[in-house]
Point group: C2
Chain length 199, copies 2
Amino acid sequence: MSQDEDDVIGRRGSRPKGVARRQEILDRAIEVFRERGASGTSLRKIAEAIGVSHAALLHYFDSREQLLVAVYAHAEQSHDDPPELRPGIDTMIHAARRNVGIPGLVTLYSTLLAASLEAEDGVGRDFFTLRFEGLRRSITESLRLQQREGLVRDDVPAEHLAALLIAASDGLQIQWLLDPGVGLESTLRTLGALLRPRA
Amino acid sequence: MSQDEDDVIGRRGSRPKGVARRQEILDRAIEVFRERGASGTSLRKIAEAIGVSHAALLHYFDSREQLLVAVYAHAEQSHDDPPELRPGIDTMIHAARRNVGIPGLVTLYSTLLAASLEAEDGVGRDFFTLRFEGLRRSITESLRLQQREGLVRDDVPAEHLAALLIAASDGLQIQWLLDPGVGLESTLRTLGALLRPRA
DNA sequence: GTCTATACTTTGATAGAC
DNA sequence: GTCTATCAAAGTATAGAC
């Protein structure tokens, strides 16, 4: 495998082109998306808001989709990792509470995810496929442990619970974006109650 | 209120322009989307597949978004209504089993939903906001009844369960589109198990 | 290595002919 | 009611300045 091959979030192998400048662009792009989402964010608008030409952006990112995925991935990475929480309902609640402060990034996530469904392949498709695989695996593993410890009901398969946790989080965020009256955190807590063993 | 005002799925009031031809276009458009989703479906591609000019499509639909929303709404309406099922986990499983045969329309749904999140207003935004409100209300009502009948555990609020059902269905469909190995129906059945009272 | 300038192609949308 | 012609904006690609 070549060292210059791209990975899913657009980084290059051993010879990144302009790591520092690239990071700077990424940081400023996140600021642009944080409030207002990806609404009407053409490559040219983003470039204008950052203060460069749209062609300069394409010097660091091969396409608009790659830039957007990199922005989301970078924003996700820069989150404080959950404070000593094992993957499960608590980490999802933690993420939800954080996300209510950055609706633009939540919108960006949903938009990129939907766009990735339409593509046969591409950066977005690979990114989200790997993301879901990784999430399901780690949550399943964690839930299985919690089942053995009596913290989670063990009469249902952990794989299903993991997929349900992720699905519920994603789906609830969408409902919340359309109607902030939907209680994101409280509804997730109810899901947590469903997971607890029958006393 | 004017009779010519559009409703959310693009129908007009008392003077529809070309109802028959419009339906014909809608039907053929559904066929186009059924297999391959909205992937690369520009207005011109759709028009070409149907056999008209792209301007002709815009004669019946004010915009691309309105056409797509109308296509999805029409496809949804033409489904056989659930056979005597009250809104709840069973109707979601019924819908999921149907959707596995028409992945293109599921993709279209997710795409339109994500696009509606980015718009301040517009046809899509209104359509999905009303759709979720209506679904949550009818499912909540139905679940509350089933709680009284002892079919659903009553130690959690029915409103939360309704939102969770919808969210889980939407989220699982996305995971399933990215990885058909995800058991759509079986995972929903597990959610159904979580809803049942503790024997 | 970094970026501007520029041009190519496709898109959604509009105007007006028939 | 449907077409052709046309538009502005978009994503993308390339050439070359510094």
